[in-house]
Structure formats: structure tokens, C-alpha cells
Symmetry: C2
Subunit: 404 residues, 2 copies
């Protein structure tokens, strides 16, 4: 063989993310802490798993009536139906009218990959993608790699320490007509009635195509319906849109990365055309989606007792997170840390901004070995009885170090 | 809302495949038969599942030591290692030299999707893809959609009723230098020593990039090593190539569509560069691959007893298929059907050409409700004690109806 490799021009790729985790892992300090895991953690510092998932997995493995045949290209029908009902409500008129449907997708990226491929082919005039979220989202790169021009906006207002509807409006008023608007998990952005009307009319008039991201329904407020409020509003007004619904995090089956790409269309006829085109993309992407995750979730969603148990699990997790947040706030108050810390408990879900500046974040990482992102958005479920004192004391010192 | 749908220009997509199955399903004749399923069937007409898979699934569901965390982007390390050892042999020098590696892929298409994306980006001079196989392969469309010029060739010689090495040479001698050559499951194409040398030198001199497809290792000859003979030869001579190894069919876990994209490079350094780039594509495609299929397979491959049982399962399946083929041949002989039917038993694996012409195929489909593809390549595992007499009698009549 020639000694020239076919791959001689291929360089080592730069790691796209996880550098903070990498630095954390290299840190040899024994009391180091990482507060930026993307999933909910249990008290014991392990990723949270809904208890009902454990027994459902066992039940499925022992079920002799199941076969292991290929799933259809679009996925397991009962799973898609159950997922749609979770997203839009069991008695959703849009489901009854058969103008919403879905495709089972793989992993955390699958729905965006599929949706982006479709939009690239069939909405050639949509060239701009705007992503509105509380954090850097991984799917920006998916759109970018496909040739879209991608703009990313955070609606966290670091001055007022809140998710700010005004920042949202600033974005949609300035983006080009016909853009794709990816709406991340912005549950804390509370629109007034008036703002809501304005939002809908701007999106309609500018022919903006909404693409929702529902990454962990139920894990924000603890209430499944409350977590999809904005989406419900869009569907009730007859909007057409895509929605990525990931079901890995709220069931705690991270290893089975499963979800759907939901499609809302004006009519069943349009929906069927869209789904039929998506079938071709699925055939090229993975052909037949894997079944385990879909089976576990369908079993739970379609059984009243298991469903109740799961909802209860979700509620407990969120209550526990709120309790941690309350404790953090209280401890900072007792330490006399300058500033109001109400924004901690005003944010819902596991992730929230501490509201620290870059210097303070640096202090925590460098001096205290507490690894948090530059924007100070941490995962509160990483805080537990064992580390809360060290964390709050460190935050106190960080704030004091930059005061006055 | 405006009554104009965003999706108004999206037409219903044409079904790409499965039309024969669709016609079969619409046929109301009670004794209709479909002999073109893509997976191995058991005697009872159900997709074959290795028995050892059943108990491994249960064992995994009950294992309290497993967590459900995200798999790494490239997949489960132990699974990739076990898959590579299956493909290249446990004591493969290429594995020891760390110049082969792999990425866990999803479904039947994942490895081709990933490999094609990589080649499109990093081997921009490779514009032509030639697919050599015994059948129409679904991945032709994947390359085509990415802008490659795709040529597909069958090496079945309908006159001599065999997989013909000369047809193989005709292809590689005429394709442009630097083409990508997808080598399908062509186990029956037996090269002489001399042909083998010529094959390697042609591929080397024309800088052809081989992309192997190993869709069901062990289910062709019943011998895991024999089924990857050609691949072994390439790796031993230091070639660089890609290989899609699907592990759904040979374990009978069709619903978990799992496999790897194996990469053979000149050195570990080149390999690491290639894998690091692939990580970026994976992140966009599905981010974290699902674990169930990988776990089941790894458990079996890494346990001597389970591995032995699985190998025995494979051997039985293939022996059973050979027995069916022998019976079909014998029955046609007893019926006095004109022609030699040795080609039936000369082909390995579940799928094989009956060697009928288009008119004869038409006769079977239209008059006998026996659904087989136009090229007469059927799945012999669909034939069992209940239907063999009807099938052979029908083949006899088909041949007689077109005899001079």
C-alpha cells in the first residue's frame, strides 16, 4: 500500500461543547463541583429516573406478546398518538381534526435534523433561522450546516434579572419576514394578554414559521399543561408550525433518546403531504427508529395508574428543585449577601440564572472549583444537602469580592 | 388565520419502496404468499429472533447496576469494541494497531448517512458512487440526495445463474478513478486467487475508496468469519475503507436497529482525526445513540456462553435455510421442471435468485398470488412445510407456461 492516507487532509475536529466539563474532570481538587449537567439530578448526585420507568422496563422485557419487528418509518403509531396527546391535550380539537401529526425521532437532535431538512427543501424562501432561548442551543449548528443563516438570542435580562418579553419582541420585530423562529424553553417569559395578541399578529403578518422546542415537558413547572401554554395558544389559533418534543429528560431515559417531531398544519390533507415527504428523509436518516424508549413511554402514557404515578414523580422533582432554590435564597439572605435573590425562585425548572457577572463566575470556577457556565445559568438539582453550604458561602464570597 | 397553508406547495411523496408488499396486502386471495420479506423468517412465518436475545433482554431490564445516562456521542465503547472484534476477528492486528475504529449508528441507514456526509465533506474529489450488490440497495438514494452521481450494478449473471466475478471486474474497470465503491453482500461472488490479486491492484491503482456493507454477518454461510472474508482481505493488506455493519438482522432485534460505521485507516492518528470529525455529524444527526440494542448485543458478545449459544443459533438458521433450498430443488426435480436448479443451493443466505425470467415472475404473481420481485430474488426462509408444495408446483407451472 502507498503510505499516503486517503484521510491525510482530515484534521482533528475541535470539540464543540463540553469544555467546561472537561476542565472540571481534569481538576484534581477533591471538593470540586459541576453545576452545569443538562439533566435533572437526584439527591444522590445521579441523573434522575422516574421510578415508574424501572418497573415498566422490566414488564416490557418479560412480555411474551411483543415482537421485535421493524417499526414503521414514521415510528410507533401508538407512541406518536400518546406523545401528541401529551403535547396538545387529550381532547385537543387539532388532534380530532387530524391536522396535527408526528414522526418518531431519535436522540436529542433527530427532530431538528428532520425538520431542518424538510424546511430546507420545501420552504426555499426561508433562509434565516432565529433561535430564542435561555441558553446556547445545540441545534443552531444543525441549521447552520444546512446553509441557513442563524441568529441566536437570549431573552434573559441581566439587569432586571428576568426572562424579558420585551427582548422577545425586539427579536421578532427585527428579523426578516418569512424567517424560521425556533422558540426554546422560555416558560419564564410571561406575556401579558396584550403582548400575547401582539405576538400572534406579528408572527402572522411577518409570515414567521415557528419551530418550538419542548425539551422536558412537566419538568419546568411540574404541570404538564402549564409547560406547553404558549404552544397551546398557537395551535388554538390555527397556526402551522413544527415542534420538537423530547421525552428523554422527563422520563429519565437519557440512554434511549426518543421524541417526536410534531407537525401542525391547516388541514389533514396538508399534514399527510408533509408526513409523506418526511418519510423519505427518515428513510435516509435512520430508516426504522428504535423501539425501547417509545415502548416504555407509551406503556406509561396509556395506563391510567402508571400515568398518574409518573405525573406525581414529575411534581415531586419540581417541588424538590423549588425547595433547593428556596434554601439557596434563604442561606444567601442569612449570609447577608448583597442583592435581591428573588430571581432564583422566580425561575422555573432545574436550570436557572444565578445572576452573577463574569468576574463572579470566574471567582467560583478559579477559586472555589465550582464549575458554572459564563452566563451563570446553573442546574439547581446539582445542589444538595451535602454541598449547599459550600456553594452558598462561595457565592457570597464571589459577590463580596467584587463589591464596592 | 389566512387560509393559505405554509405547506401548500408540498405534494404527497411517492412511496419509494414496498409497492410489492402493498399489492400483496391488497390481494384478497386467501392462499396468497409474500416471498420478499427482508428479514429471516422462522418456521411459523414470524421474523426470526435469536433465543439468547430474549433472556438477555430480561436480564438487562432487571440489572440494578445499570444507569440510564446518555451514551457518548460516538456510542457505547464496549459495544463498538465488541462489534469491531466480530467484524475483524478478536486477534486482528488492525485492532491491536488501533487503526480501525467505529461509531455506533442508528437504524439500517445511519452508517451510510454518516459515512456519506463525511465523504462529501472531506473527499470532495470523490463524486461518483458505484454500488455493487445482488439487489437494489436503499442507500443509493442517500448518496444521490447528497449530490453524488450513483451507479448501481448487479453481479448476478442471469444466463449462467451465478454471482459473476467477471461482472464485478467490468464495473471496477470502467468506473472513474477515485470513485467510492460500495460493496454489498456479495458473498457468493467467489474470486480465484488470481482475480483477488487483480481486484486489489485495480482498487489501489484507481484510488477507489471501498465502502463495505455487512448487513447480516453470520446469516450468509452460518460462519461469522467466512461471511467477512473479503473485508478481512482488504484490512490485512492495509487498505483504508468504511464498513457499515448492521447487527439487527443477525440478532433478530429488528426493532432496535443498531450497528456501527467501522473505519479502517492507515494509522491511529488518521483514525482519530476521522472519528473526531464524525462526532460533529453525529451531534447533528441524533446526538446520543439509543442503548438497548447495543446493550443486548454487547452482553451476548462479551459472554462466552451466550456468544456460543448465539453462534449456534445462527448456524441452525442457515442450516435450516439450506434444507429448505434442497427441498425446493428436489421437488422441482421430481416434478420434472425443465432446467438445472443447482443455482438455488449454490447461493448462500436466506435470499437467492430463483433464476426465473420476467414472464415467469409475472405468472407467479398474477396467476398464483405468489409475490416475488421482478428479478426473482426471493427470501427462502419464507418457504415452509405448509407452503412448499404450492410454491414448487407454481414454479413448475410458470416454467412450463413459457417453455417453447
Amino acid at each position: 500500500m502507498s503510505s499516503l492516507s486517503v484521510f491525510r487532509d482530515v484534521p482533528q475536529a475541535q470539540k464543540l461543547e463540553g469544555s467546561l466539563l472537561k476542565i472540571y474532570r481534569q481538576d484534581e481538587y477533591s471538593a470540586k463541583l459541576f453545576l452545569a449537567y443538562r439533566v435533572c439530578m437526584s439527591d444522590d448526585g445521579q441523573p434522575w429516573v422516574s421510578l415508574v420507568v424501572h418497573k415498566t422496563r422490566q414488564q416490557i422485557a418479560q412480555d411474551p406478546s411483543l415482537n421485535y419487528e421493524y417499526l414503521p418509518l414514521l415510528g410507533m403509531k401508538s407512541f406518536i398518538q400518546a406523545s401528541l396527546e401529551l403535547l396538545f391535550g387529550k381532547h385537543s380539537p387539532a388532534i380530532a381534526e387530524k391536522r396535527v401529526g408526528g414522526v418518531q425521532t431519535v436522540g436529542e437532535s433527530g427532530a431538528f435534523q428532520l425538520g431542518a431538512q424538510f424546511l430546507k427543501m420545501w420552504r426555499k424562501n426561508l433562509k434565516v433561522v432565529c433561535i430564542i432561548s435561555c441558553q446556547k442551543e445545540h441545534y443552531g449548528l444543525i441549521f447552520q450546516d444546512m446553509g441557513f443563516t442563524v441568529y441566536e438570542y437570549s431573552i434573559w435580562n441581566p439587569k432586571d434579572l428576568c426572562s424579558d418579553p420585551c427582548l422577545f419582541f425586539e427579536v421578532i420585530e427585527h428579523i426578516p419576514d418569512g424567517s424560521i423562529l425556533v422558540i426554546g424553553n422560555i416558560i419564564d417569559c410571561r406575556f401579558t394578554q396584550e403582548q400575547s395578541v401582539k405576538l400572534m399578529s406579528t408572527i402572522k403578518n411577518k409570515e414567521i414559521f415557528p419551530f418550538f422546542d419542548i425539551p422536558c415537558q412537566g419538568l419546568s413547572t411540574g404541570d404538564l399543561e402549564e409547560d406547553t401554554r404558549l404552544l397551546q395558544h398557537f395551535v388554538s389559533l390555527g397556526f402551522e408550525f413544527f415542534c420538537s418534543q423530547s421525552l428523554s429528560k422527563n422520563f429519565g431515559i437519557y440512554d434511549e433518546g426518543v421524541g417526536i417531531l410534531a407537525v401542525a398544519a391547516l388541514s389533514n390533507q396538508h399534514l399527510l403531504c408533509v408526513l409523506s415527504q418526511m418519510m423519505n428523509y427518515v428513510q435516509a436518516l435512520w430508516q426504522n427508529p428504535p423501539s425501547t424508549g417509545a415502548r416504555v413511554i407509551t406503556t406509561i402514557l396509556c395506563n391510567r395508574a402508571l400515568f398518574g404515578e409518573w405525573k406525581h414523580n414529575l411534581k415531586s422533582v419540581v417541588e424538590n428543585i423549588m425547595l433547593i432554590k428556596e434554601k439557596v435564597k434563604e442561606k444567601l439572605r442569612l449570609l447577608g449577601t448583597p442583592g435581591s435573590w428573588n430571581h432564583i425562585t422566580q425561575q422555573s425548572g432545574a436550570h436557572g440564572y444565578l445572576g452573577l457577572n463574569y468576574q463572579q463566575v470566574e471567582f467560583l470556577v478559579k477559586k472555589k472549583h465550582i464549575y458554572i457556565p459564563k452566563n451563570s445559568r446553573i442546574n439547581f438539582s446539582c445542589i444538595n444537602a451535602k454541598n449547599i453550604d459550600y456553594i452558598t458561602q462561595s457565592i457570597h464570597e464571589a459577590v463580596m469580592s467584587t463589591e464596592g
